[in-house]
Subunit: 531 residues, 2 copies
């Protein structure tokens, strides 16, 4: 396409005539078409001109099929700094962009979050044909490049490796991309309304991103998000393992729909039907009855909820834990609070680069937390909301807007993005929640919040089968439907409590992102089953 | 029930009369009934005799509902050794067994894999009523016990804490078990045909175990198995993370049945149907196309296979990895081989106690492995089998019996329980397997074996979309059905390979167990969906 500024007068000699403008446009279009044809030709070109003195220095070699084990060592782009000046190295990277300019070709080579500029000049060893070939290779192709590391005078702002460039000597295509991409990595990497580009530069909408997730995931932001998300899981497990938790795996296919049968997916199971587990709740508790004492599990959970919001998925990764305690469920709160702080500290210290990368595209305030975490009682939360003008009863549940408002109030007052709200009204919690022995309208249960959104729900569970039956009856639940659950406490069960966390939500809220689809590798919602 | 030996003459004074025998039997039955009644009464007994001077020292306190946070510190059974002689401690444990004997009551208290003997004697502080109460508490109840650690003269062979016993001063029931257990922990813990007990003592069959899994899992063996299994996952991840792998999570609900649609579970998904993923294969490869370079994932995989064998489950935990490589897929083999050795070494060094515990009930030879692991080519394997008298062609697949035989031959020749078989015949592998460039009848693919059973299957995958289409056509696969799979390589993909492992199989084969249901917490097979 012709440049958007083609009608500005480059010579400064006054306003251009309409005719001249038209001519100029035509020429530009022609040039663009020619370049396209050349690129097309070049990308088909293992056919190299006979008399090309550089013919062994570029091209499309045979597919890597494990023919041989060459000695050639590939180095990583992020290691290319001025310390390697004048050294000749081989790298394998994606061709991020390329631009021909007379007898030169500038390329940017990309490896995950890292980029470096490369340059080819026609000279004694680099032929015109080689420069032409290089310029014609489609973006996103994977290339093997030999080059000499050269220190540059002026920082290269558009690359992560800003002090050096690569003087390319050899250039081979390892895997070709189609020349037309359904989205441009640069567009998908751009902050919304980027000021540097006058807020006019194109970005990519969410459905296009998700439809072409393989390309979308190649942006520096996505490379960073999913590396950090791996860190969330690792830190969750490490924190609990050092507290003597055992990792378990609970079945996803279950015979009875838990929690009343709403919002559950049905599976055909040989000659019968089964269901997909909405949480590992029952199985975690069975593991406690089975003497594992403290357990955690990381795995898929399924919700057949027809919710198309920024924070609902039909399939997500649950980080669940459950533990026996001695005397008071605050022992559990202490463990979970400490675990969250381990995660927040670990992300801050180990993933600073990733956080900075994400913030470049999606700016957010750094995540604040207190050590130990702030713990408020439900009634204190209600009081803060009332003081802020909200009308609600002391036993009412928190609506989502009120949760968010409370998050802002707490942040203003206590300077933290994470807090624990303890002692929820009994009436708004499931039947298996242990009532508060000192105030029967409340319960030994808690939610935890990140940036004003609920991230964990948990409680002391009733471990006495008779009392559990009584509470279930009070909730008008047919005891027959929960018989196996109640029976799992009939052979002695210790007092216990726990909670469940959505991994994608932790990642989204920690980074201050606006949609959970940004933190699910291949998200599933009522309208999306692919890719 | 009357003792089975009741008709043997205890006095040795000759054959007993029929009438006397009948009388004796009746008395025995009466005594048994009385004991049962007493136990019943005792377990109901918060009602304590008025004049009982020990009445504050035992009983059933109110349910632990988080009333208070007492200072009392509970100690762990495995810390009770002669180093604590004469100290008074509190423990919370299960009542494993109890036995009254005149004015004494002997109990065994159990905490996961660890047991200690406790004793109560009627004296100035312990009343007759207290001893009676203790003897009447149902096994498997959870109790809080205060006692003094006392060194014993003779080792207590039946407990893990053999040098000390607990002189009990206080005894409270925290959570009562039903008096009748569907299985006895001691029976479920017993080796089959235990020689010490003349091979006559009862054991528990697998279905009874699995039907009452909460009780079954309390055996020392099961406590050890699932702690070790947690270790398998931990070591898998640690080993790959140190090699720069990124942890990912792939969707379990997918829109198209992978690998031809056989053996796949169908899910109702709002107004359409979906399927449960049989492996994360496609998504792992997409992550490679999306530049994550090296990825692993731990998660549920589903097989709707109607196989009722010792090694098939319909749901199991997959340990999957995939990585880009530079020149030769043996780079992948090196990583996977090194990873397995990290797991074997870690289990041997970190889980020695657990391995010993399992071996007591299920004896097995220690698992042998070589560093680096043994690598054989398929044709060498075929040669070994042929030399052992097996008739097979050089391109035939290995049958399960032949795999096992080869495992024995390899162990005899190389002294290892783990080996890699490389370069499988192309014809027996999936269409996406990269053919061997040097011998078109073979392929760049491999299986790995533990104790003669396949534990991993993997290969270099074809990363070129045109070649992939060609191979799919050769396999007579309708290209339309795998379009999205092939398309995921159209925007440049590096050469890559990987493999998938069944977690339960690793654990089963490492420990030399005979059934995969022993290493699945709540196994799922065509006939079992509960608990």
């Amino acid at each position: 396409m012709a440049d958007a500024n083609a009608n500005a007068d480059p010579s400064g000699e006054g306003v251009i005539s309409k005719k001249a403008l038209k001519k100029q446009q035509k020429e530009a279009e022609k040039a663009a078409k020619k370049a396209e044809r050349q690129a097309q030709k070049a990308s088909e070109a293992d056919v190299v001109e006979e008399d090309d003195y550089a013919k062994d220095r570029y091209g499309i070699p045979r597919m890597v099929q494990s023919h041989e084990k060459p000695d050639r060592k590939l180095v990583k782009v992020d290691t290319l700094t001025s310390a390697l000046a004048d050294q000749t190295v081989w790298i394998r990277a994606r061709l991020h962009t390329s631009r021909g300019k007379g007898k030169q070709c500038f390329v940017v080579l990309r490896q995950q979050q890292f980029t470096i500029q490369g340059i080819l000049n026609v000279n004694d060893t680099i032929s015109k044909a080689m420069v032409k070939f290089t310029c014609g290779v489609s973006k996103e192709s994977i290339v093997d490049v030999e080059g000499t590391v050269a220190v540059v005078g002026q920082k290269i702002e558009s690359c992560t490796q800003q002090d050096v460039e690569l003087r390319i000597q050899r250039f081979y295509v390892i895997s070709q991309s189609l020349p037309r991409l359904p989205l441009q990595i640069e567009d998908a990497s751009r902050p919304k309304g980027d000021e540097e580009e006058g807020g006019q530069a194109p970005t990519v909408n969410q459905d296009t991103r998700l439809d072409n997730r393989i390309l979308d995931l190649r942006t520096p932001t996505n490379q960073a998000i999913f590396r950090l998300e791996g860190g969330v899981c690792q830190l969750f497990r490490e924190s609990l393992r050092k507290r003597d938790f055992v990792e378990i795996h609970t079945p996803k296919i279950i015979s009875a729909a838990s929690e009343g049968g709403a919002n559950v997916f049905t599976v055909s199971y040989f000659k019968t039907n089964a269901f997909l587990a909405q949480s590992p709740q029952l199985y975690k508790q069975m593991a406690i009855s089975a003497d594992f004492n403290k357990v955690f599990t990381v795995g898929a959970v399924f919700r057949a909820e027809d919710s198309n919001t920024h924070r609902h998925l039909t399939e997500f990764v649950g980080l669940d834990l459950e533990m026996a305690f001695d005397y008071h469920y605050h022992e559990v709160l202490d463990v979970i609070g400490g675990m969250f702080n381990d995660i927040f500290r670990g992300l801050r210290d180990l993933f600073a680069t990733e956080i900075a990368t994400v913030n470049k595209q999606f700016p957010a305030e750094p995540f604040k937390f207190l050590d130990p975490p702030l713990r408020l009682e439900y009634l204190e939360g209600v009081k803060m909301l009332k003081e802020a003008g909200v009308e609600m009863g002391e036993e009412d549940d928190l609506s989502t807007p009120n949760e968010k408002l409370l998050g802002r109030l707490v942040r203003a007052k206590y300077d933290t993005d994470f807090y624990i709200l303890d002692k929820y009204p009994l009436a708004v919690r499931p039947f298996y929640t242990m009532p508060d022995p000192n105030n029967p309208k409340y319960s030994n249960s808690y939610d935890m919040f990140m940036r004003g959104e609920e991230i964990l729900s948990g409680a002391q569970r009733i471990h006495d089968p008779e009392y559990l039956s009584e509470r279930a009856k009070h909730h008008e639940i047919d005891l027959e439907t929960i018989k196996s659950y109640i029976d799992s406490f009939r052979f002695g069960a210790p007092p216990h409590g726990g909670g469940g966390i959505g991994m994608e939500r932790v990642c989204m809220l920690y980074l201050g992102l606006d949609n959970i689809r940004k933190t699910s590798l291949f998200p599933r919602d009522p309208k999306r089953l692919t890719p």
